[in-house]
């Protein structure tokens, strides 16, 4: 068992293993555990660094620059969506809000009905979700710090809605609320603290700071994978190669190597998040976790609401405007509360590709139906804030746009949400190497015998909930099949 840093690789190092896994996040780590515990020789290569709890500072910008892809500057070509992903051992699971949902039954049914997915029915997935939830500590106990949830709960209640504390992947959570900057106390059960230890115990090797560039395929079989480190090169031969770099980097790696066919990189869904901010007469103090409660409102509406509390240095950066008007608002940021509206994309019109200079290019736009959901969701959030006693609601625009009553909420219908007006966040890119199109139903890339994808790229339609448990479960299931195949 070993965990190494890429800088220890000097010159050319050659490896021959049963399975090479590229990426150590929510897709790669569960696959590593499954395959290693099946007795296979597993090597995991991670492009980002290894981060320990003692490396973390609870400072938003410091974390973003050290851990997030492109130092937090990854965004769509038109700038409307900032896409936040972790780039480190454990990937995005290090910096997420610890919200745990299985894939909703309706989504699994949709995958079977509309995309021909087999073997992932709600009944078949249930034991896999249970296994994942147990591995990451998402037990009933994890809700406990949240039971005295925020004043927003009253707002939901007045509208006949319920704000429920979500299951969270934590052990011994102290409720410090600094989840998005990575857990400095080691309580968050990100995959580097849950799945990877099991893989390491079963003799897997993880090398951080090693970026895979070349996948050499001949006659349908991967012959060799080449990765760069600061001072060296890794050349790896494996019986099977699993790509788990997330829905942005996986399709790029496939495209760069001419693999996967014409649909690679297409159908990007983002779960755009918009969050009108409620300003209240008094402060509430920090929450016990970033997401203190969720409400699925009406799932058919296609959005999930999550009442959130974020540290004030982070919160101030999303307060709109500039100059004295911004100062005036930011002064009362401790009196503000957030409800994130996570919208399930109706169609998936985005794509990931490279421009002529070789830079990654992420295109995504709102289709009419998704836009309607965004506006409905914003109205709902506004309504909840007022019901909870907010004195005004600040809309997620670059310019300061305030609403002082529900009568004014009609402005949401005409609010410009095109490029340069509106800012969405995305933590959940999905769908760029669809199961059943780019890969077969086992995750094997079309036209190859032994190259697999096991991350959110596979999702044929967006899951509509936080993606960590969904990806861990899909990866666990597919890697079990692969283990069976390799050990047969």
């Amino acid at each position: 068992m070993s965990m190494r840093e890429g800088k220890s690789v000097v010159g050319i190092e050659e490896h021959e293993v049963d399975v090479l896994i590229v990426g150590s996040g929510g897709g790669g780590a569960p696959a590593a555990r499954t395959l290693a515990t099946a007795g296979l020789d597993v090597l995991v290569l991670e492009a980002g660094p290894r981060i320990l709890p003692t490396d973390l500072t609870q400072r938003a910008m410091d974390t973003v620059r050290r851990i997030y892809v492109d130092k937090g500057a990854q965004e769509t070509a038109d700038g409307t969506v900032q896409i936040l992903q972790g780039s480190c051992v454990g990937g995005s699971t290090l910096v997420n809000a610890e919200v745990c949902f299985p894939i909703p039954d309706a989504v699994l049914d949709e995958w079977a009905r509309d995309f021909g997915v087999r073997g992932m029915s709600p009944d078949e997935m249930k034991p896999v979700f249970d296994d994942v939830m147990e591995t990451i500590g998402a037990t009933e106990d994890s809700r406990r710090p949240l039971t005295s949830i925020s004043r927003m709960a009253g707002g939901f209640e007045k509208l006949g809605l319920a704000l429920e504390p979500p299951l969270r992947n934590v052990r011994g959570c102290r409720g410090c609320n600094y989840c998005l900057t990575g857990c400095a106390y080691g309580c968050k059960q990100s995959v580097d603290r849950s799945f990877l230890p099991g893989a390491l115990e079963a003799n897997a090797t993880v090398i951080s700071d090693a970026r895979v560039e070349t996948i050499d395929v001949a006659g349908g079989a991967v012959r060799e994978v080449v990765a760069r480190t600061a001072h060296g090169t890794l050349r790896v031969r494996a019986r099977a190669v699993v790509l788990a770099c997330g829905a942005i980097a996986t399709p790029l790696l496939l495209q760069d190597n001419g693999l996967g066919g014409p649909e690679v990189g297409e159908h990007l869904a983002l779960h755009p998040i918009c969050g009108p901010i409620g300003r209240y007469a008094t402060g509430e103090g920090p929450g016990k976790a970033v997401v203190c409660g969720y409400c699925d409102d009406d799932w058919d509406r296609g959005y999930l609401l999550e009442a959130a509390s974020i540290p004030l240095d982070f919160f101030a950066t999303v307060v709109p405007g500039y100059g004295a008007a911004h100062r005036e608002l930011a002064r009362s940021v401790d009196q503000m509360s957030l409800i994130a509206c996570i919208v399930r994309d109706s169609t998936a019109p985005g794509r990931v590709t490279r421009d002529r200079k070789g830079k990654k290019r992420i295109e995504w736009s709102l289709d009419a139906e998704t836009e309607a959901k965004v506006r409905r969701g914003m109205r709902r959030v506004t309504e909840i804030h007022f019901a909870a006693g907010a004195t005004e609601v600040i809309l997620p625009q670059l310019e300061i746009v305030k609403i002082r009553s529900m009568a004014e909420a009609k402005r949401i219908d005409d609010l410009p949400i095109g490029p340069g007006y509106f800012n969405f966040l995305s933590y959940h890119p999905q769908g760029t190497a669809r199961m059943g199109a780019v890969t077969d139903l086992d995750g094997r890339v079309q036209g190859t015998d032994n190259l697999y994808v096991m991350d959110t790229s596979l999702f044929p339609s967006p899951v509509g909930v936080n993606t960590q448990v969904p990806v861990m479960a899909v990866s666990t299931l597919l890697s079990r099949r692969l283990a069976g195949h390799l050990t047969a």
Partner: protein
């Protein structure tokens, strides 16, 4: 080459004017920007410099002088013009500057008391 220091200072002060509500933008942003630029790809630094230059020179046809040479009041009006512009590229430049200025400013502990933020608890826990 990074963007001109005079323009960065003028921009930072237009986003965060001097006053009782915390340090002026120009007291905080420039050093943090230098640090950030040193860690970026030269191509990204170049792109940012071009956006800043575009913004700086765009004031000439409107106000007769560059942005950094305008009065504080005119700088504020000019910046608002980009925020509300019908020309998408101007709004995009505003968005990028907005994002950059806020992230750099609120990264500095000196800005925290004005927003009522006591700082992360881990500092005191690690010190003891």
């Amino acid at each position: 080459m990074g963007p001109s220091a005079a323009v960065v200072a003028a921009l930072a002060d237009t986003f965060f004017p001097p006053g009782p509500d915390g340090p002026a933008g120009s007291d905080v942003v420039p050093a943090r920007l230098d640090d950030l630029l040193a860690s970026l790809d030269p191509a990204d630094v170049e792109e940012l410099s071009m956006a800043v230059t575009l913004f700086e020179m765009g004031a000439v046809p409107l106000h007769g002088r560059r942005f950094s040479r305008l009065s504080a009041a005119n700088r504020e009006i000019y910046l608002g013009g980009w925020m509300r512009s019908r020309i998408p590229i101007r709004r995009e430049v505003f968005r990028q500057l907005h994002h950059l200025m806020k992230n750099l400013y609120y990264a500095d502990p000196a800005s925290w008391s004005a927003i009522g933020y006591g700082g992360p608890p881990i500092d005191a826990e690690r010190a003891s």
